[in-house]
Assembly symmetry: C2
Homo-oligomer: 294 residues x 2
């Protein structure tokens, strides 16, 4: 298996399905559908949907049954980026080298495009549950809602926002990482497993692995901000320092932060390996994401 | 049956359940839960949840099984008000005599409180589906998502926003009314019927009635803006004229608009009456809402 070919193939599958589940740009009122698609098709790596599909395959699940949930996850991820970039929150003008949604379509449409993507995610998922007549879909939907809501992503973002400009301790920093980044990855793992009818014990183990992966991923982000080059990263480096942001690096330094990533990654991989060879792709993929240089 | 006692009792039931389903204010991070509750408990009449519960009762459904869906509907309605009031959209400082959410908590928290309420609505509903192990819940959820999303409320709001300051024709005005107000009422009627296992034919009839009620309700709003007093209405009158907004009144005058309301109301009531006496409460309630003087 060549990982990058495999990732690319799966990304294309997700893109095709996203195109299917999103309203066409020519529908009335065009501007909202253009705005939704502008951000969904902005070059995302589709990490969360690919994770969901990979976990689902581990337990014998089919891609086509899981696709609505995988795409819904990406819609939710995209809505969160659009709202995060708004002037009242992070006030970012660019994302991945393109204008942010509100810079391209106006603040009003950006707010509504975020709302539309979030709602559409649940419309797509609930429709899939109705069609399949299978309650497992409702469990997957609940895992995703849980990861995105007041027990997950939203409160991570809230604490990030209210901590702006303040020195943080490890506890608060972990709360932000766990919720803002980790919770939706946990949602991806759990939803994939639940859809395929995995046992409660398996779901719990994967949830634990996803949590560790989420934090490792975020600490690695903090490290790259000071060790990478702007060319490699595709965005300005030392941005955390400029924004006086508390990160693992400012709290513990690069060396100890790298140790944390290694330890978390080791623990996560041990869990994944307990599932045997059917976990190979997921293991290789997450190892690649955590060890990435940019 | 005394309608106002009955409405009051049902409103209190919804309030109790909302309190149960929303995270407590003392949870961390407090500000988001305070902000969510501030707008949910701002004196709303709970029309949509009461409609859902009433339709559900018509077909023998239980309030306690339908409650999560009824409350979710109110959370979605509340999120839409919070986001509508934002500076980038309607820029309103007051709602029902209190500061709007962003004036009380800041624009960042208001955006996130709206996001949190919308996501929580789906978390509460999907949890209810899992607990009941009944696919009818997924159908109700889908009807609500459909009413709130890109086939309903969101696109109504989009067309309202992009029409700002423009003269509209009847077609566009109807599109806004049908989607911005009507679609969520249709969601309430359909979800209530679906939950109780009503036949497809009944669901379709009720959907049609809800559509007419939604438009009648909105035209009545336009009429009251020019015929009521500020004291009766609890908000400034002639606001549409001041904002140069196209309404049924500006297009057709008061007399013809009143005729439209009467005709739509008559048609809606005829549909409801076809269900016999079990529809009495819903009929009386919607008649009261359409005929209201404020």
């Amino acid at each position: 298996m060549n990982l990058s070919t495999e990732l690319n193939e799966r990304r294309m599958y997700v893109d095709t399905k996203l195109d299917e589940y999103l309203p066409k740009e020519c529908e009335y009122p065009e501007i909202i559908f253009k705005s939704m698609r502008y951000s969904v098709f902005a070059g995302g790596k589709r990490i969360r949907p690919i994770m969901l599909l990979a976990v689902n395959r581990m337990f014998g699940g089919s891609d086509d049954i899981a696709a609505p949930y995988a795409c819904a996850l990406e819609m939710i991820h995209t809505y969160s980026l659009i709202h995060d970039d708004l002037p009242a929150i992070d006030n970012d003008n660019f994302r991945r080298g393109r204008l942010t949604n509100h810079k391209a379509f106006g603040e009003d449409i950006a707010i509504l495009a975020g709302d539309a993507l979030l709602t559409h995610a649940f419309e797509v998922m609930s429709e899939a549950v109705c069609k399949s007549q299978d309650i497992k879909g409702a469990r997957a939907m609940n895992a995703i809602a849980h990861g995105a809501g007041v027990n997950g992503m939203v409160v991570g973002q809230v604490v990030d926002v209210i901590s702006d400009g303040k020195k943080l301790n490890k506890e608060t920093l972990d709360f932000i990482h766990l919720n803002k980044t980790g919770a939706l990855i946990q949602g991806a793992f759990k939803a994939g497993a639940l859809l395929a009818g995995a046992t409660d014990a398996s779901v719990e183990l994967l949830d634990e692995a996803a949590k560790k992966i989420g934090i490792a991923f975020q600490i690695q982000d903090d490290i790259l901000d000071v060790t990478s080059t702007q060319e490699e990263l595709g965005k300005p480096i030392f941005s955390d320092e400029k924004n006086e942001k508390t990160t693992y690096v400012t709290l513990y330094g690069i060396e100890k932060s790298t140790e944390f990533v290694k330890q978390l990654s080791y623990e996560a991989m041990s869990i994944l390996q307990s599932f045997g060879t059917r976990c190979n792709f997921l293991e290789e993929m997450t190892r690649y994401l955590i060890d990435r240089r940019f």
